[in-house]
Amino acid sequence: MSGYLEGVLVLLAINVVLAYAAFLPIVAGQLNLGVAGFMATGAYVSAYLTNAHGWLPVPAALAATVLTAALGLVVAFPILRTRGIYLALATFAFGQVVVAIILNLNVVGGASGYPVRAYIGFPVIAVAAVLVFVAIYCLFHTRFGISVTAVSDDELVADQMGLSVRWLQTAAFTIGSAVAGLAGALHAHHFSYIEAQYFNVLLSIYIVLYVLLGGTQTIYGPLLGAAVFTLLPEVLRGSAQWRYVIFAGLILALMTWRPQGVVTRSLLRRLFEWRRPPAEAAT
């Protein structure tokens, strides 16, 4: 495999993982603009464990995932007190604080960045991305997934039907944080160098855009969104700026004509009417 192709595929795999990190809270009705903050946490924890304590990269990445999940769980309680736009702002502020704290942690290089010695290659990243997708697929075919979908469809009704909306939202937020932490760890070990400034709010916004464009009604939306917006810039090579101009134009066009995102439940039903259950046909 050529180095270029591998580079694109690594980016694709990490973006898919990130898309699911943003997807989970969105499904539970939370716009998380702090995904980059959780990603940074995972990246720095994993990098620190391998650099300073000689851990192997894969166990370090897993430990980082668990630790980011713990962080997500802890901040979920105060953050989920807020609602709607206030919640988006709280997650945004949280992401900014995380990055600012890392910027001041000299033990991980502070503002000058942090070189990561342990390396994770493409195969492991690809496996991780597939595992995340499979995990999400399984999750959304359990009671939990159905309940979360119910909450996103109508929070009030879900609550009245006896679902614990608060618990579901906390769980979705925490799992999303964990997935973001994993993506950060993979990023750190593949690119061998991380700096706090990379994990800024624009990164969070891009990740959220992938998901919203792909569509939040089904688990295939984030996959498509991340794939299209990783591969599209490669197809449109040439000027980096024009790529983003086109990217922005596409978002505007989509929001005007297809505000639910590209992949919707009714689309899947129409495409795969002849098979049951309809969701399976797209895998």
């Binding site: 604080v97 600012a100 502070g110 929001m255 505000p259």
Partner: protein, 290 residues
């Protein structure tokens, strides 16, 4: 020394305040966090730079930049607000983010990513009051900021359009039933917001004599914090919030170093949201529901 820090903070805060007013205005009336504001802020600054460089007089460049801000903001309205009705609540947010990406990259295509230096026709002057140094352009900026918000407040309280705006902020549906033409009032929100944002961008560029394609991001994020601090939809609160953020920022730089600024500013925002999940002050525009 302490007084000087306070003055510097207030000067910095006046720029945040104007941006915060633009944010809080659309937020208060339309419940819409308009992420295209940093883009318009930046375009106004960059266009001012480009026109000054092209030998156009400042007296012509500033109104042109403000007009451009209004036009861009109107374009944003046309492509976001009508889509909001009947759709998910995050659609305008996403579309406005797309506008930010669009504006930034169009400017990058036109002028590149370098930070540009503004060549001002006059020398930067500062006045001394006792031991305190006050930058005159900054002071003019602060006066303009407060003056313009005072004007906006008058418009909201005294005019027909203002009553329409306040009724929509309170309840868009009832306002429509009572005969307020929502379709005609909403563009006004964007036009005013666009002029405010552009004014902030121009003042920032002139004050700090610099402009870059990314100048809007940092300022807008601080502006959002100021908006929450002052209570969403509360225009005087936005001014207060902007000034507080400016003072907190300069104080943090003074005592803890420039790298810790974000911890204090966004930590403060986070703390406020944790303690009061709906912001600090209440809205002066409507009931403040988001």
């Amino acid at each position: 020394m302490l007084a000087q820090q306070l003055v510097n903070g207030l000067m910095l805060g006046s720029v945040y305040a104007l941006v915060a007013v633009a944010f809080t205005f659309t937020m208060g009336v339309l419940k819409f966090l308009n992420f295209s504001i940093p883009g318009i802020f930046m375009v106004a600054g960059m266009v001012t730079w480009a026109m000054l460089k092209g030998g156009i007089s400042l007296l012509l460049a500033v109104p042109a930049a403000l007009a451009l801000g209004a036009v861009l903001s109107y374009a944003v309205e046309r492509l976001t607000y009508p889509q909001m009705r009947g759709g998910d609540h995050f659609i305008p947010l996403v579309s406005s983010m797309a506008f930010l990406i669009l504006f930034e990259n169009l400017v990058l295509v036109a002028w590149g990513s370098d930070q540009q230096r503004l060549a001002l026709p006059f020398q930067s002057v500062s006045a001394r009051v006792g031991d305190i140094v006050i930058g005159v352009p900054q002071l003019i900026g602060l006066v303009i900021a407060v003056g313009v918000v005072w004007l906006l407040d008058l418009v909201l309280k005294r005019t027909r359009v203002g009553r329409g705006l306040r009724s929509i902020a309170e309840d868009a549906e009832t306002a429509t039933i009572l005969g307020v033409s929502v379709g005609r009032v909403v563009p006004v929100v964007f036009l005013i917001g666009g002029v405010f944002t552009a004014l902030a961008g121009v003042l920032f560029a002139l004050n700090y004599q610099q402009a870059s394609p990314f100048m809007g991001e940092e300022v807008a994020l601080k502006g959002i914090s100021a908006m929450v601090l002052g209570g969403m939809g509360n225009i005087w609160g936005a001014i207060l919030g902007g000034l507080v953020i400016g003072v907190v920022e300069t104080a943090a730089i003074h005592w803890f170093g420039a790298r810790t600024v974000d911890i204090w500013v966004y930590g403060l925002l986070l703390a406020i949201l944790f303690v009061r999940p709906t912001g600090l002050l209440t809205s002066s525009l409507g009931s403040g529901r988001a």
